[in-house]
Subunit: 221 residues, 2 copies
């Protein structure tokens, strides 16, 4: 029951994200790319993680995360997202500045610290990017999220998360006055290029490109 190292936690988190964002089977190369490391290093680490029982794998066949692995990954994700809330809500960081710091803070070991932080923040359910915060048992309870570009005209939704969280995209959203929590109504969908005419918060009307709509995650409102 020894703690995972920082590196092991990062690998496990990457594997968790890859396996919940796609098929179950996670490839060596995908992990390497996500962690900006080399496939050979991933092979090494995969062996160690499977010896520790947090993933299972068959050589050349890719990786599956185990229940125990999922629990451990969700614990790191919980810490990451709570710290992001802290940075934005309490220390006035902008949502595009917090990720790198949270990448460090997520490895701090103290469950008491995290439960106190959770309490201090008022038990938030979502991080500043709209991603749900797992509870202490690793359970994520939140409405199913949809991609804006997949919806029909007249849908009324609320922005909860972003697929792209790069600065260019975040700056664009700032500029058009869209933020996590904004209400969006779909007025029309242009057949030609898939761009979407929307109304934000019952005030502002504008057209966004399909590319933008592809990166907005929303829930029914």
């Amino acid at each position: 029951m020894i703690d995972l190292s920082f590196a092991e936690e990062n690998y496990l988190k990457a594997i968790y994200h890859l396996s919940s964002a796609g098929q179950n089977q996670v490839n060596t190369n995908a992990i390497a790319e996500r962690l900006e490391t080399k496939p050979a290093s991933v092979s090494d680490m995969i062996r160690k993680l499977s010896e520790k029982g947090v993933i299972s794998y068959v050589k050349y066949q890719g990786v599956n995360i185990t229940e125990d692995g999922k629990k451990k990954a969700l614990w790191v994700i919980r810490k990451h997202r709570l710290w992001e809330v802290f940075l934005v809500e309490k220390l006035n960081f902008h949502w595009d500045e917090v990720h790198d710091i949270a990448e460090q803070l997520e490895h701090i070991r103290s469950s008491l610290l995290i439960s106190r932080l959770d309490e201090f923040l008022g038990y938030p359910k979502f991080d500043p990017h709209g991603d749900p915060i797992p509870d202490a048992e690793g359970i994520i309870s939140s409405k199913p999220r949809m991609i804006l570009s997949g919806l029909n005209v007249k849908s009324k939704v609320k922005l909860v998360s972003l697929k792209d969280t790069g600065n260019a995209f975040l700056n664009y959203l700032d500029r058009i006055g869209m933020k996590i929590g904004s209400r969006i109504r779909i007025l029309d969908i242009i057949e030609f290029d898939g761009s979407v005419e929307i109304e934000i918060d019952n005030r502002k009307r504008l057209t966004i490109s399909k590319r933008v709509a592809d990166n907005l995650l929303v829930v029914a409102d």
Copy 2:
């Protein structure tokens, strides 16, 4: 100008504390004992730190911290103490619970984070144990501290820090209602065993042993 590793930061901090709490010359064995490691490991690390210019040393002659090393050590100490304030003031930790968590948090790399935290905490000058918090330039501005047992009858002082921060001592102080910031007036000093009759916060009178008085650091009030 590459960052020091966690291990290097811990060594440097230990060397800083040892050199400011005693003679300038810091011994290999003293460092090993403080960090609960072996002298052989210390010798190795000393070589690396001196190559990086944060300490200077001559083989077999002990170590001196350089100006650059002092600056870097004080930066880690600043972070440690600010996080301790955060844990006690905002997350309701008790002062005897915060050290181990701060040992982890002190290595988080972000000067913006620390300046925001400092602001959020209201620019505290002392940590929960009464130790002064260096400013962003590494300057410690605080009154000279004295040991209570070294003072004369009728002195009026304020408790700012503890030499012993073990649980037994902290519990005792709680029990007699003494805390950082308490005003202490010395009513009498018993010649026989050096115990001290005091008045706390103009209310409570009691006698403390010399052993206790030895561990109370105070400033003139």
